[in-house]
């Protein structure tokens, strides 16, 4: 019983500074996120105060430095966390098509993030369940509604906006049956459920 208490205390100490840092103010609005192709100032932010609050909290969760900003290359994930499904290309577009170095180095504050999110929300990913099922059917060699997991990995990792191994692993966890194949209708349904 006694050691249990110690274990409880230890992570608490670690967590403390993180919590303290989170609510720290973000005074300097230096990062300009105005891409030449897309005028974000024309985007009208229409979120409710509740949404605003939620988003802010989520945004805060991604700040790993403590300056109340997030790196450019985190923006896509935040938007996705908030229920959107933008392509990488679209995200880059709203970020003003930054270079790869800028994606890693530059940081964005919440106020600048909101219109970007709004833009994505206004023009959501229109792909439907049927589209994806038909798309995956192309790789269904036996015509029995399944694809091989290995094949799907190759497809997602080599075509289009190639996904990384880690992303694919996260995606495919527990989806393959004992033969290594995937029922793609169920798969698509599952992916689109959250």
């Amino acid at each position: 019983m006694a050691p249990k208490k110690d274990a409880k205390a230890a992570p608490a100490k670690k967590a403390e500074p993180a919590k303290a840092a989170a609510p720290a103010p973000a005074p300097e609005p230096d990062v300009v996120a105005a891409p030449p192709a897309l005028d974000l100032s024309k985007v009208k932010v229409e979120f409710t105060p509740d949404q605003h609050e939620d988003y802010k909290e989520a945004f805060g969760l991604f700040d790993r430095v403590g300056d109340s900003k997030v790196a450019y290359n985190q923006v896509a994930d935040i938007m996705r966390a908030l229920g959107q499904n933008p392509t990488n290309k679209e995200v880059r577009k709203v970020l003003g098509n930054p270079s790869d170095e800028d994606m890693a180095a530059k940081r964005l504050e919440f106020e600048a993030f909101l219109p970007m999110l709004q833009h994505i929300v206004n023009d959501p990913n229109k792909g439907t369940f049927d589209d994806y099922v038909e798309g995956l059917r192309v790789f269904d060699k036996e015509g029995n509604g399944t694809v091989m997991g290995a094949e799907l990995r190759i497809v997602l990792g080599t075509l289009g906006e190639k996904m990384s191994e880690a992303e694919i692993d996260g995606l495919m966890q527990g989806q393959e049956d004992e033969n290594g194949s995937i029922n793609f209708e169920a798969f698509v349904k599952h992916i689109m459920s959250i």
Partner: protein, 963 residues
Amino acid sequence: MSEADKFLYRDGGKVANPLDQADWATKKLVWIPSETLGFVAGSVKEEKGEECVVELADTGKKVTVNKDDIQKMNPPKFSKVEDMAELTCLNEASVLHNLKDRYYSGLIYTYSGLFCVVINPYKYLPIYSENIIEMYKGKKRHEMPPHIYAITDTAYRSMMQDREDQSILCTGESGAGKTENTKKVIQYLAHVASSFKSKKDQVSTMARNHGELEKQLLQANPILEAFGNGKTVKNDNSSRFGKFIRINFDVNGYIVGANIETYLLEKSRAIRQAKDERAFHVFYYMLTGAGDKMRSELCLEDYNNYRFLTHGNVTIPGQQDRDLFVETMDAFNIMSIPEEERIGLLKIVSAVLQLGNMSFKKERNSDQASMPDDTAAQKVCHLLGMNVTDFTRAILSPRIKVGRDYVQKAQTQEQAEFAVEALAKASYERMFRWLVMRINKALDKTKRQGASFIGILDIAGFEIFELNSFEQLCINYTNEKLQQLFNHTMFVLEQEEYQREGIEWSFIDFGLDLQPCIDLIEKHASPPGVLALLDEECWFPKATDKSFVEKVVQEQGNNPKFQKPKKLKDSADFCIIHYAGKVDYKADEWLMKNMDPLNDNVASLLNQSTDKFVSELWKDVDRIVGLDKVAGMSDGGIHGAMKVRKGMFRTVGQLYKEQLSNLMTTLRNTNPNFVRCIIPNHEKKAGKLEPHLVLDQLRCNGVLEGIRICRQGFPNRIVFQEFRQRYEILTPSTIPKGFMDGKQACVLMIKALELDSNLFRIGQSKVFFRAGVLAHLEEERDIKITDIIISFQSWCRGYVARKAFTKRQQQLTAMKVIQRNCAAYLKLRNWQWWRLFTKVKPLLQVTRQEEEMQAREDELEKTKVRQQQTEEQLQEFEAKQQQLNAEKLALQEQLQAETELCAEAEEMRSKLATRKQELEEILHDLESRVEEEEERVTQLQTERKKMQTNITVDLKIYIFMVD
């Protein structure tokens, strides 16, 4: 088997590497011409009017190319296709690329519509074993990877099924592998047609006959090769003649015989060879392999003593002439060609060599030739069975007919030399022809009627050198005819396919395209063709090669297939536009080559030779062009008045034309199968392919032409099912859910695709497309799939991100709980009561310990009691057991005693039984004695009675007496 598979099947699955697919779709890859590589891949960056900026895929260099020079690249789905007719972008670049890709992967066979294209691998491939033959047996063409066996099997099966004669036409440059592939065809047929028998148990003698015939058929090749092949720069074993092998089958598909016809033997090889080349193999085999006896019989000398072996003994790496001599002689044995005929053949070969050693000199005072040393002539005469004096006279001053009289005409040195060379060539040729005849006789000994046949043509393809002569005209003429046959076949087949699919479309017969060129060569009159003019010219006394050219220009000058040399300086005399390209001809010596004159004096000497074999060879001397004709020409027509009667003999051109027309008639009555052999490089190197060399050949042998014709129609065909499966994605929600007929579905899909009605036709089972339409669909499909994939990937990323985010939120919540507890603890830890509590809490547990102890002790007590009870019980049981054991023992003893007692009683019983028996016997005895006794008693009693009566009588008597 797997080793062979590598050389048969293309690697990877049917679905191309998605990476390549993506590359192709996004980069707009195309082919642009390259000086060294034929074509190189590049991606179109920019289009400016007529020109395009293309970035080379390999080097990244940017080049500007004219739009017309760009050739579309096929989608990677078509990589290494087995049939190039499936390629949707059918162009030179794609064909070359596909062949190259396959060749580098070890796949030497590729189909191109009706053609089977094969590239010489220049190394041994494990794809000709009997296992492989078994694999191909009875399979349809599309079921197996491309192979000469597949072609052969198709021919064999259709012969059996349709009862239609078949032909397999192998053409190609020298060294491309025509003869090798021909051999494979024969090997396959010999195997397949004989394995039939083993299944049906036929009479064994018949089977043996079959086996022998097949062996002989296979052995015909080494003999023909020894006499008809030689080493050239391009090919160590180059066939210097064309041949058509006809294998006859009976109704059951067994080989019943074969027949070989040869064409255009390059006889000049017997007397002269270019650098690094050899004469016919047989010369070297004979000189190396003959034993001492044979050497003296054949008057053989050293290689370097023969003028006709221009370069002495040229050897071929990895080939032992001595062994091959033995092999050839063995082959003669198998063909059952007897010893004397063999020697006869070799005598001719030796005589041909000796003829070269006859040397002539110009006499001092006149132009006349003389022969200072007649050793060689003597040897020739010895070998050929002639009189030396007659022979020498026939060479030096033959009798020539002038008007009605014969005169002796002295020959100049040149004339004599020419005559000897002509004689040597003619001898060799006649010997070769006789040999073929003899082989045919051996192969045709079965009397049974052949029902149908498969003909295999192995003949050189188009020859286009810088300057071309009469021989090239003949071979190109042949190829022009063969190509016409191909075009016509293709026309017929296409027509059939369209009809079968019920498609209205008039196919143009491209066979007709070649007719003008063929007319230009072979037409008899109005206007006469080149061959006719050449023949005509041969009859004119004053004619020369030059006058012949003038006449051709005059008669054919307007023929679109004919061209005069542009510049006067041009060394060519005229050009003919063959379908394979423009060919420059030089007419030097054509008249001579066409007449092929021979010293008829010598010919008649040979005709009367004491050697039967020689006179047999020269039995038809009246057909040759005699010296008078040549004399007429060279002397400027002094003897012009005396023409040889027409019809007496035939020119080379005429003979060949006739031979060819016979061949064409035969081929036209067969179902032809086309094999195109390609030489990849001129260095005899494996794994190397020179793009331009291959392109030239593809152009020459009609593969590209075939493709061009193909493109006029609807070259891409795809069955409904596949079309729907592959392209349904382009027309979402066009086809209602549930079952739908394939054709109907395709009609709907095509309607949705809004294709121009001229771009497609819908048949009974397939959709037909114009060239390139499928590539376009494929491109659209790729873009569509990529779009969907990107969109789906975004969803997937969203899914992954949200999953991660949810986890993060949960972590956050957990963290908050922990924090709250920690904060509470921090507040508490200095509060005295808490501290007291923490101190006391462990003590609280001590008091409870006693209770627990008590409980434990109670439990222990209970257990002890229970244990004791159990122990007592155990003891009890043990005692009981002991008691029972003792009882058991006692019982056992008792049992034992009883058993013994029983045994004793038994013994007694048996003793008693024997006793009883004995007693019974005694009783029996006694009874019988009693009986006996009783009998005696009765007997005695009767006796006594008798006695008594006697006594009484006696007594009475006595009494009486007494009385």
